[in-house]
C-alpha cells in the first residue's frame, strides 16, 4: 500500500497508468467490434478512450519544459553517438509535446478553428523521429555490448580449431565452385546461431536495455499506423500501446530497470 502511495505521487506514473487503460480500451474496442458486441458498449468504450486521451493531454501540459531540460543535460554526455541521438530525440519529444499542447487547446475550445488533423499528423511525425532515434541508441548500445562481450570471450578462451577449418577448406577448394556453397551454408548457420546466442546473452544480462528496446519497438507501431506508413489496425496498435505502457510502469516501479543515461 505504501508503495502505491509513492507510485501515485509521481504524475508520470499516473499518466502511464491512464495510457495503459487508454490502449486497453482501444484493444477492447477492437475485440468487441470483431466479436459483434452491442453498439452501446462499443460507444461507451470509445468515449472512455477519448476522455482518457484528452485528460492525458491535459496532464502532459508541462512536458515540453522537461524534455528541453533533458536535452540540455544530454548535450554534456561524453559518448558522441549517444550525445547526438539523445539530444535530438529529446528535442523531437519537446516538439511533439508542444504540438500535443496545441491539440489540447484546440480540442477544449481555447483555440477555435484549429486544423486538428494537420496538427495530429505533425505531432505523430515528431514522435516517430524521437522513437527512431531511441531505437538507434538502443542498437548502438547493443552493438557496443556485443563487441565487448566478444572481446571478453576471445581473451578468455583461445580460438578453437573448428573455426579455422572452414577457412582452410574454403581457400583449398577454390578450384571447385560448387564445394564452397555446400560448406558455406552450415558455416553461415553456425555463425548466425553463435551471433544470436551472443545477442540473447547480452540482452539477458542487461535488462534495462532489453526493456527499452522492447518498449521502443512496441511504441513505433503507433505512429507508423496513425501516419499510414505501415497500417496494422487498431487491435495491434492497442496491444502494442498496452505492452509498452506496462513496461514503462515497470521501469517506474523499479528505477534500476531504467536505461541510463
Amino acid at each position: 500500500m505504501d508503495s502505491w502511495v509513492r507510485f501515485n505521487a509521481q504524475s508520470q506514473a499516473k499518466e502511464r497508468v491512464i495510457r495503459a487503460a487508454q490502449y486497453a480500451c482501444t484493444l477492447l474496442g477492437y475485440t468487441l467490434k470483431k466479436g459483434g458486441a452491442a453498439a452501446e458498449l462499443h460507444k461507451t468504450i470509445s468515449q472512455l478512450e477519448a476522455h482518457m486521451s484528452l485528460t492525458r493531454k491535459l496532464l502532459r501540459l508541462g512536458n515540453s519544459v522537461e524534455a528541453l531540460e533533458a536535452a540540455k543535460r544530454a548535450i554534456h554526455l561524453s559518448d558522441s553517438v549517444l550525445r547526438l541521438c539523445l539530444t535530438i530525440s529529446h528535442l523531437n519529444k519537446a516538439m511533439y509535446f508542444a504540438c500535443d499542447n496545441v491539440l489540447w487547446a484546440g480540442k477544449t475550445g481555447l483555440i477555435s478553428k484549429l486544423d486538428q488533423q494537420k496538427w495530429t499528423q505533425r505531432s505523430f511525425r515528431y514522435y516517430l523521429f524521437a522513437l527512431i532515434l531511441n531505437l538507434t541508441r538502443d542498437v548502438y548500445e547493443l552493438r557496443l555490448l556485443i563487441e565487448s562481450e566478444e572481446r571478453y570471450r576471445a581473451s578468455r578462451s583461445p580460438p578453437s580449431p573448428s573455426t579455422t577449418l572452414p577457412a582452410d577448406s574454403l581457400s583449398s577448394s577454390s578450384s571447385s565452385p560448387a564445394a564452397p556453397a555446400t560448406i558455406a551454408l552450415p558455416v553461415m548457420s553456425a555463425w548466425l546461431c553463435r551471433r544470436l546466442h551472443l545477442l540473447g546473452m547480452v540482452l539477458y544480462n542487461n535488462p534495462p536495455l532489453l526493456l527499452d528496446l522492447l518498449k521502443n519497438s512496441c511504441d513505433i507501431f503507433i505512429p507508423l499506423d496513425r501516419l499510414g506508413i505501415y497500417p496494422t489496425g487498431s487491435g495491434f496498435v492497442g496491444a502494442c500501446g498496452l505492452a509498452s505502457s506496462v513496461l514503462s510502469i515497470l521501469t517506474i516501479i523499479n528505477p534500476w530497470l531504467k536505461l541510463k543515461p
Binding site: M1, D2, W4, V5, N8, A9, Q10, S11, Q12, A13, K14, V17, I18, T44, Q47, L48, H51, M52, L54, T55, L58, L59, G62, V65, E66, E69, T108, G109, L110
Partner: protein, 246 residues
C-alpha cells in the same frame, strides 16, 4: 526551471495548479457574466473549467487508498485529540473520494443507474465534514500554542509591555479581549504553517457550504475562495517548511 519541473513531477503539484486554474476560470466567468462583448471568452472559460474539472476527477481515481493510508498513520499519533481529528478527517476524505469516483464513472458512462444529484450531495457532505475536522485540529493546535505562550515568562513581559504601551486601546476594547487577540496574533505569527492551514481550510469551507445550501454565497465568492486555497496549497508544496505537521 528545475524547481518548476520538480514541482510538476509530483501529481499533487499538478493537481493544485489545475485546481487553481479551475477556480480562476470560475471567478472570471462570474466577473464577466454580464459583459456582452466577452461572450466568446466566457464560453472558452466555461469549456476550460469543465475540462479541468473532468480531468481532475480522473486523476483522483487512486486517492481513496492514499486517504486510508493517511488515516492508518494518524491513528497512531501520540496526541489523542489530534489523532481523532485527523483520522476522522482522513476517513471522511476517503468517503469523499469514493463518491467522486462514482460520479466520474457516471460521467463517462461506465455506471448508468446512480442518482448523480444524491451522490454529488453526499460527496459535498463528506468533504464538508473533513474540512470541519481539519479546522477543529487547527483550533486545537492554536489553543495549545496560546497556552504555551502564556506560560512563557518572557512572553508575559512582552504582553504587559503591550498593555502598558496602549492605555487608550485598553480603555476602548475590553482588556481581556485585547490580551486574547494579542496572544492569538503572536501565536499565529510565530507559527505561519498553522495560520496558512487555518486560512486554507476557511477558504475551502465556503465551497461545500454553498453547494449544500447552508450558507448560500455566489459563484464569484466560491471561485475566489477556491483560488485562494489552491494558491496557499501550491505555496505549502513549494515551501515544505510552511506545511503543517503532522
Amino acid at each position: 526551471m528545475d524547481a518548476v519541473v520538480k514541482f510538476t513531477n509530483q501529481s499533487q503539484g499538478r493537481d493544485r495548479i489545475f485546481r487553481a486554474t479551475q477556480y480562476a476560470c470560475a471567478l472570471s466567468i462570474y466577473l464577466l457574466r454580464n459583459n456582452s462583448e466577452r461572450k466568446d471568452l466566457v464560453a472558452k472559460l466555461i469549456s476550460l473549467e469543465a475540462t479541468m474539472s473532468a480531468g481532475r476527477k480522473l486523476f483522483r481515481l487512486g486517492n481513496t487508498i492514499n486517504s486510508i493510508e493517511a488515516a492508518k498513520r494518524t491513528m497512531r499519533l501520540s496526541d489523542r485529540v489530534l489523532g481523532l481529528c485527523l483520522t476522522a478527517a482522513n476517513i471522511n476524505r476517503a468517503l469523499y473520494f469514493i463518491c467522486d469516483n462514482a460520479l466520474w464513472a457516471r460521467s463517462v458512462g461506465l455506471i448508468r443507474d446512480i442518482d448523480k444529484e444524491r451522490w454529488s450531495l453526499n460527496a459535498s457532505r463528506c468533504y464538508f465534514l473533513s474540512l470541519v475536522m481539519h479546522l477543529t485540529r487547527d483550533v486545537y493546535v492554536v489553543l495549545q500554542l496560546m497556552a504555551q505562550k502564556v506560560r512563557d515568562k518572557h512572553f508575559r513581559q512582552k504582553m504587559d509591555q503591550h498593555v502598558s504601551e496602549n492605555p487608550e486601546v485598553v480603555d476602548v476594547v475590553v482588556p481581556q479581549l485585547d490580551a486574547f487577540l494579542f496572544v492569538l496574533l503572536e501565536s499565529l505569527k510565530s507559527h505561519p504553517a498553522v495560520a496558512l492551514d487555518t486560512l486554507k481550510n476557511i477558504c475551502d469551507l465556503f465551497i461545500p457550504l454553498d453547494r449544500l445550501g447552508i450558507y448560500q454565497s455566489n459563484a464569484g465568492v466560491v471561485g475566489f475562495c477556491g483560488l485562494m486555497s489552491s494558491l496557499i496549497g501550491i505555496l505549502t508544496l513549494t515551501h515544505p517548511e510552511l506545511r503543517i505537521k503532522p
